[in-house]
Amino acid sequence: MTWRALTHRFVAVPLALVAVVVAWNVYIAFNDHGVIEGEVRDRAGAPVAGATVIFFERNFVYYEEKQRATTDAQGVYRFTDMKTHVGQLEARTADGRKSERRQLRLWFRSQDTEVPPLVVEPPRA
């Protein structure tokens, strides 16, 4: 009788929703350290060391610079404690090359994310 009552749609649907919400929040709890990382490469695909990667956070009407990171010898950069869910990433090198701004949209705030490589190119003449 009790198990049969659980299969009634008025019970099963809310229970299913609660299960989804709980599972989603558990997933968030394990993946919300605010780490955003990726690589910077040149057009040939080689890693670019010492490049500056800028994270722009979306304000209501524009994007403002929020944080900077520098790539290591393998061209890897890493932002930590990023408490946002939307922004843009851009890589710049000391010799004037830079990447296109990449839109970053996350499923929740502080989501740990691995971004596809940013490719730096020389400025157009």
């Binding site: 749609r9 008025f10 649907v13 009407v61 869910h85």
Partner: protein
């Protein structure tokens, strides 16, 4: 072995009627489809020619809504107010509906008074409603927002019609067995009035969930706002957020649609039984 047709011999085929109904359903669903499509793409709704199929759909507009405004707080307020309205309306409408099945002096006048009160729009009574709510000290509270829906005349008559459809001999037998009036209602009448209960629940849910004018007047602090007020606030403070706006609309619609889809059988049965037996 071919399946025998349920259509009586000589009667016209069903498919033309079904085809017309499918076309009409499709036309009725177009606005909903457009809202969902815009929430997934964020494209300009005035774009010409309009795109039927969404291009590059995504769910990030819903994420934006969740973080741009205190959606969870609005949702909580709406859920609590709606739950209070449903619980209160069930209690008071059942009691009033049962009372109207009894014979007492002036019953006809009470019924006439209730029916005539249905002609008065809520907007006309909103100042007295505000003064009463203020006098009770429940302005800017969940109870104050739910107050006007704690009893509704339509649902009183739905319960009255449902209770009158129960054979009087059944109630007389319960009374002979020593059941009190309250237990007759809860043990005999309500189990036989599931359609009326579903109708009451769904109607009260829809009215409470979509209520805008009364919450706008009764609520003063942003923390107490419900989803429709949140939608108005969202429109007033955000710009260039077509996709997020439509995502908000979809999020407001989903609970109502889910409740209706879960209870549509009881809902339709409750309304039609009220119409034929009242």
């Amino acid at each position: 072995m071919p399946r025998p047709s349920r259509r009586p011999p000589g009667s016209p085929p069903h498919w033309p009627r079904h085809a017309i109904m499918i076309v009409v359903s499709f036309l009725m669903l177009i606005p909903f489809y457009w809202v969902v499509k815009t929430s997934l793409t964020g494209e300009n709704i005035y774009a010409y020619p309009p795109r039927i199929v969404p291009v590059d759909p995504h769910l990030f507009n819903y994420v934006d809504v969740w973080y741009m405004i205190p959606f969870a707080r609005y949702l909580l307020n709406s859920v609590i107010v709606t739950a209070m309205a449903i619980a209160g309306s069930l209690l008071f409408n059942v009691a009033a509906g049962y009372a109207l099945t009894k014979h007492f002096p002036g019953r006809r006048w009470v019924v006439m008074l209730l029916l005539s009160c249905m002609l008065i729009p809520f907007q006309a009574t909103i100042i007295p409603a505000y003064l009463i709510t203020s006098w009770l000290g429940v302005l800017d509270t969940w109870l104050g927002v739910a107050l006007p829906l704690l009893s509704t005349i339509i649902c009183i008559f739905v319960f009255k019609a449902s209770f009158e459809a129960v054979p009087p001999s059944l109630i007389d037998a319960a009374r002979v067995d020593g059941l009190s009036e309250w237990r007759i209602v809860t043990r005999i009448l309500l189990p036989l009035s599931k359609s009326a209960i579903a109708t009451n629940v769904i109607l009260t849910f829809i009215w409470s969930w979509n209520a805008f004018l009364w919450p706008l007047i009764a609520i003063r602090t942003p923390e107490m706002q419900t989803l429709p007020l949140g939608l108005a606030r969202f429109l007033s403070v955000m710009e260039d957020t077509t996709g997020a706006l439509y995502a908000f609309v979809v999020l407001v619609l989903i609970p109502g649609l889910a409740i209706f889809l879960m209870a549509q059988k009881e809902f339709i049965r409750g309304l039609t039984s009220g119409a034929t037996k009242g």
